[in-house]
């Protein structure tokens, strides 16, 4: 089943997918998708992300050899927003790009989980658009939080999909469109470190908690996007996540 969290008529609701693409609130009301405000479908406590996890993308970013251990890091909750969110694109940035990613949602406490049991700890999946602003990259704890944990730059949704409904998570098409034009394509089977490995790796030194999420990386096809663009990141069978880039003008100048 596909689950969402939405705001409607002054309250936050759990919802599921209704026939025809709408949403059905837990109280039975059925609404068109554009009648609700889409919130992130999960509220993770710890947000893990993995960089350079597709060989083609690692190559694109000028790394001569693929990594031998996952490049894993943690983002803050400030960076999370939902489907149809607006994301600020700083006007001084020359290169800001989206990243379409499959997201794993942990279902139960995970500590030293072996690879062959990893899927027992997966509750389900969602889609991320994990923006990066390359102008702000620095070579300390790279990718630094100024690149990867900016307010409203990590979008999740629209749906959280139960693991039972995703029989082949390691064979899902990923695609990004910018204003309707396809700019990124890939398949989760091309991950360097697959889901089972990532769960084993992370849980070997940390206890993962239900609701924690792992952003599993993005394939090649990162192109610059600008204010006014509509960016849609899609993972086959999981969802189509829409985001709108807006410029600085709506925001107060920095203090």
């Amino acid at each position: 089943m596909k689950h969402a969290r939405v705001a409607y008529a002054g309250a936050v609701h759990s919802a599921t997918e209704a026939p025809g693409g709408g949403v059905k609130l837990a109280d039975g009301r059925v609404l068109p998708a554009d009648a609700v405000v889409w919130l992130p479908p999960v509220q993770p406590r710890t947000v893990f992300a993995v960089g350079l996890n597709y060989a083609d993308h690692a190559k694109e970013l000028a790394f001569k050899t693929p990594p031998t251990v996952p490049l894993a890091f943690i983002k803050g909750p400030n960076t999370i927003a939902g489907h149809r969110a607006q994301t600020r694109r700083p006007s001084d940035a020359k290169f800001m790009h989206y990243e379409c990613e499959l997201v794993v949602v942990i279902g139960k406490p995970a500590r030293r989980v072996p690879r062959d049991r990893a899927y027992e700890y997966v509750a389900g999946y969602t889609v991320a658009n994990d923006y990066a602003i390359r102008d702000y990259l620095e070579n300390y704890y790279r990718p630094n939080l100024r690149v990867k944990s900016r307010d409203g730059c990590t979008l999740l949704g629209p749906w959280f999909v139960d693991a039972a409904d995703v029989p082949t998570p390691m064979n899902l098409e990923l695609q990004t469109t910018v204003n309707g034009r396809v700019t990124q394509k890939g398949n989760t089977r091309d991950m360097i470190f697959d889901i089972a490995f990532l769960i084993e790796y992370l849980s070997s030194t940390m206890t993962l908690a239900p609701g924690d999420i792992i952003l599993t990386g993005t394939p090649e096809g990162a192109v610059n996007v600008v204010a006014g663009d509509e960016v849609v990141t899609e993972v086959q069978g999981i969802g189509r996540l829409t985001n709108y880039l807006i410029d600085d003008s709506a925001f107060a100048p920095s203090a």
Binding site: I74, G76, T79, Y141, R142, L145, A252, S254, A255
Partner: protein, 259 residues
């Protein structure tokens, strides 16, 4: 004595207590209790952020390496990291070292406890967003490179003691003039002052919230001084911030781990 907020293990909400200036005793519900006899939990609830190099000696220790690969240039923006919830533990709680971690680096930081949503705040009024202060022991496996995020080294379960309490903002006259110390088995191993911070606290808050909102309950460590002491199983580590408190935790072998 100063008012402090203590979170006792098993309690559903924090308690107001009064701490003696020795940091060893608190007055709680009319009784005088040794801190060592209280079961303290983590007194904060939000995301815990750390900042690298905010003590200038930490960056100076890199020397000319900052101009060479892989760093290429000195850092411009604050270098931040997160200590996730699995790392948090309360005052007095044993910190377990896994069998493959023979020694850890420990280090004191003043923790700013955020009081309200702080987005793009100015340095001039940044302290208005601080509810109070706590003490953090930032534990990590020794590592030499700052190039990649040290997730495995920094984020072992229990590698971030926080506490023993939160002191209200008004009880600290100037957070930019506090002595910080780390002791291992009672021996002073690290001493510095927040007066030398590369980014003084108001500037740090302004530069961090320029791109990252801090929310009520979040903790921003202001930095760990250079020369983080090594500690091992059997050691007792105490980190102390003048006027805020002293946080002590023993290091033990992980249950089931080979010694």
């Amino acid at each position: 004595m100063i008012d402090v907020l203590i979170q006792l293990r098993g309690a559903r909400q924090p308690l107001l207590a009064q701490a003696e200036s020795s940091n060893d005793f608190v007055h709680l519900g009319g009784r005088r209790v040794a801190l060592a006899d209280l079961a303290c939990d983590v007194p904060t609830s939000g995301t815990v952020f750390g900042v690298l190099f905010n003590f200038p000696g930490e960056l100076a220790a890199l020397g000319d390496a900052v101009k060479a690969a892989p760093y290429v240039a000195p850092p411009r923006a604050p270098v931040l990291y997160i200590k996730p919830i699995n790392t948090w533990t309360g005052a007095g709680m044993p910190v377990e070292l896994p069998a493959d971690v023979p020694a850890v680096r420990v280090g004191v930081s003043l923790g700013l406890v955020i009081g309200r949503t702080a987005t793009r705040v100015s340095a001039a009024n940044a302290l208005d967003y601080v509810a109070g202060y706590t003490v953090v022991n930032d534990i990590t496996e020794p590592h030499d490179s700052y190039y990649r995020p040290p997730l495995r080294e920094n984020c072992r379960d229990g590698f971030c003691p926080i506490g023993p309490w939160v002191v209200g903002r008004d009880a600290v006259r100037d957070p930019g003039k506090l002595t910080v110390r780390t002791y291992v088995n009672g021996e002073l191993r690290q001493e510095n002052t927040t007066a030398v911070l590369a980014r003084p606290i108001p500037r740090l808050l302004a530069d961090v919230t320029e791109f990252m909102t801090l929310n009520e309950g979040d903790v921003l460590m202001v930095g760990v001084p250079e020369n983080r002491p090594l500690a091992r199983v059997g050691d007792r580590v105490a980190v102390e911030v003048e006027g805020v408190g002293r946080l002590e935790n023993p290091l033990v072998a992980e249950a089931g781990a080979k010694a």
